[in-house]
Amino acid sequence: MTRLIARRLLVSGLLVGVVSLLTFLLQAAAPGDTARTILGDHYSPAAYARLHRELGLDEPVLTRYGHWLAHALRGDLGTSPVSGLDVTAQIASRLPVTLSLTVGATAATALAGVALGVLSAVRGGRLGRAFDVLALAGYALPNFWLALVLVTLFAVTFPLFPATGYVPLEDDPGGWARGLVLPVTTLALPGTAVFAKQTRDAMLAALSRDFVTALRANGASERSIVLRHALRNAGVPVVTLVGLTFIGLLSGTVFVEAVFAMPGLGGLAVQATGQHDVPTIQGVVIVFTLAVVTVNLAADLAYGWLDPKVRSA
């Protein structure tokens, strides 16, 4: 297990390095550079040359990547050439918004999905077919469109929840929660049906195994068979799904933050894209990649916790 984690950590570190290098190279290969972005449309060649040198843009790209990496490892992701703001600080101030959304939506999806999936595995039949249809609908509906429909219904027609904005948790927990209802619902709704369907399939597979028959035949309670044995054996696919859901929702926040005008990382990425603010968007990519890597690592740890065979490996 320890060796497994060590190897995973190593691969994860490499991965973040590769992703950052790729985005760096992409940016370097692009027409136009940061100096030109800062100077705008009208500038003198002398001013351009000076800034170009000041920013270190005349050095070879790998040297520049080395500088960037050295700073990034100390938590310094550079400065936005457009706003002049510190990228790390901007990301730090926006991270809570995106985390509230993704963690909230992942938790909602997983809890509702597991509950409904177990229920339909035990009760069977019609509920399962309903999930098939809903999962298909969730797959097909663009989440920004769903968000707009929810806003129309529950913020405009029936003003139950705010249509836009984000209230920090430490300022007003009630307002924070109310503001999250619609965006979290938007993010969670499509995934819940998929989650329920997959949980159901995993539960049915677990319930059809020999040990379930043996436990039943020897008088174990149905409750224990479902919750202690089948659910736990269905745990590995379910945990995989939690990780995938989180990663999927991370991308989903880009749209949902735009609809609900929430000051999160997705919004930052969109704004930076519009302004060709490469250092900022690069910072967001790094943070997203770190999040993906962390979630995958957490999933690996969870497998070990669930499966004694992995634990002793």
Binding site: V11, L15, V18, T23, L26, Q27, A30, L136, A137, Y139, A140, L141, P142, F144, W145, L148, V149, V156, S208, D210, F211, T213, A214, L215, R216, A217, N218, G219, A220, S221, S224, H229, R232, N233, G235, L250, V254, F255, A258, A269, V270, A272, T273, Q275, H276, D277, V278, I281, Q282, V284, V285, T289, V292, V293, N296, L306, D307, P308, K309, S312
Partner: protein, 626 residues
Amino acid sequence: MRRLPKRRAVPRTAVRRPLTALAAGYLVLLALGAVLAPVLTPYDPAATDLDAVLSGPTAAHPLGTDGLGRDVAARLLYGGRISLADAAVAVLTVLVAGAGTGVAAGFLGGLPDRVFTWVTDVMLAIPVLVTLLVVLAVVGDHRIAVMVALGILMSPGLARVVRGAALTVRNEPYIAAARVSGLPDRHILVRHVLPRVAGPLIVQISLLSGGALLIDAGLGYLGFGARPPAPAWGSMIAEASAVIGRQPWLLVPPGTVLALAILAFGVLGDTVRDAAAAPAERVPSPPRRRHRTPAAAASAPDAPSTALLSLRDVSVGLPAGRGTTTVVEDLTLHVDRGETVGLVGESGCGKSVTARAVLGLVPAGGRITSGTVRFDGLDLTALDPAALRALRGRRIAMISQDPLAGLDPLWTAGDQVGELVRRHHGGTRAAVRGRALDLLRTAGLPEPERAAARYPHELSGGTAQRVGIAMALAGEPDLLIADEPTTALDVTVQAAILGLLRRLQAERGMAILLISHDWDVVAAMCRRAYVMYAGQAVETGPLPDLLERPRHPYTAGLLGAMPRRARRGEHLAAIPGAVPDPAHRPPGCRFAPRCRLATAGCREAPIPVVEAAPGHHTRCVHHESA
């Protein structure tokens, strides 16, 4: 080459499903609408009409007008040009980048394959959308470049699927033979690899098309799509959101068109996957008519009224296709208190289903269709599920065929025995643990603490079976059903487990219904045995009578099939043929097609049970010569 016809099976299956035809038809309509937009609508998608702003559906504007008075229907049709073209660029890129590298990696193997695996591993962890935003930030609104980038970011998933398929083909013996005989790689790729890859490729392509359409619309919504006023579905949703308070209707047309397109791609992908997964031909099993055989049933040996377990004319049906198949038919048997009774037969004859029926655990969808199961005076077929549950473990218990599969891999042996102890006896944590350890010791584990702390994957087959026995003993049952308890074990371990079962039976006065295909096991354990064939009991009698003087040719054949029992100089009388499929059993004697004694009479009508010798019954008219 055996799976090649699959390629033709795909479109045929697709057409048969109306939903699939609908999905394909919708996508064709969308494409046609985009191409023929100038013919289909009189409106210019960019022409504003400030007199008819936000009109909602009218005769002039069937889908209404937007905030600038532009015709929504026209914008949808023209928008298809941009949205569908974008998705097509992305998907073509996926095809070139993903399928190409996947086939190459899978087919070449070695270093290229390792590099490929590593690169796709990395790429799968890259967050697609934000990386795409980086590309956008760098290249600006160069749509084709952005869509190519999207294609590359989406390609690793498809590349892996293709690689897997190519790898499978590469490892087929006939491909190796073809390469050795000098067939050019190009030929192998085109003739053998491509057809095999085609199925999964089409599935992935249709799913990715939906995904590309979704991301394209998302980018359009965020304002990174086609430059206004050019219409695209995503930007139409963005425009609708600006006037959401005044005309929410505007959300409906672009959202519906887009969602249905994504859905259609999903449905197409599912169809192809199902077609590829389905067996080449499906023989519908005919609905089985139950022909009751009163004469045969009436003469079946009666159980003494003191029997612990008695089955009378029990039939068990399992679902098969649209109907049910009777896998056990008119089975009559009994087990007395403290008696060990064998149930013998080839696999597929209905032994295990009988065991599960006694426990009320007939596999999903199946049930006892007729007859009665009495246990200690109770009619189990009439009991409600709760009463039946209360019986399991405490009165009737079971040990399973595959001892390792019979244990939950995620709990220790001690946990699992303990759970049943707590269930049947309750008590404090310490009492439960003590009792569980006692049971493990009783089951012949000299160091119960050590065994209790182990997970199933750390146990040997013999130890696992002892744990299974301890679990079965937790409720102190009167009847133990042992379904092939030693089949999965080594010969020396087999003997030890049988010894343990014999000892437990003697000490506890527990009855055992021993299911086996192994006459040695039955001879060592049982006083009586039933021989089952094709769902029926064909012979029953005391041991060793049954071994020495079988009264049914099937029993004789089974005995002869054991090398050790074949007498010196005699032919090994293995039985020709196979057990008939439950749906296609012969009308007369079930064994007639494989029987060397069969006469015309055997094939006509069901054979009644006769008492060939005291306590020795057989379902054979030729029992004197068997």
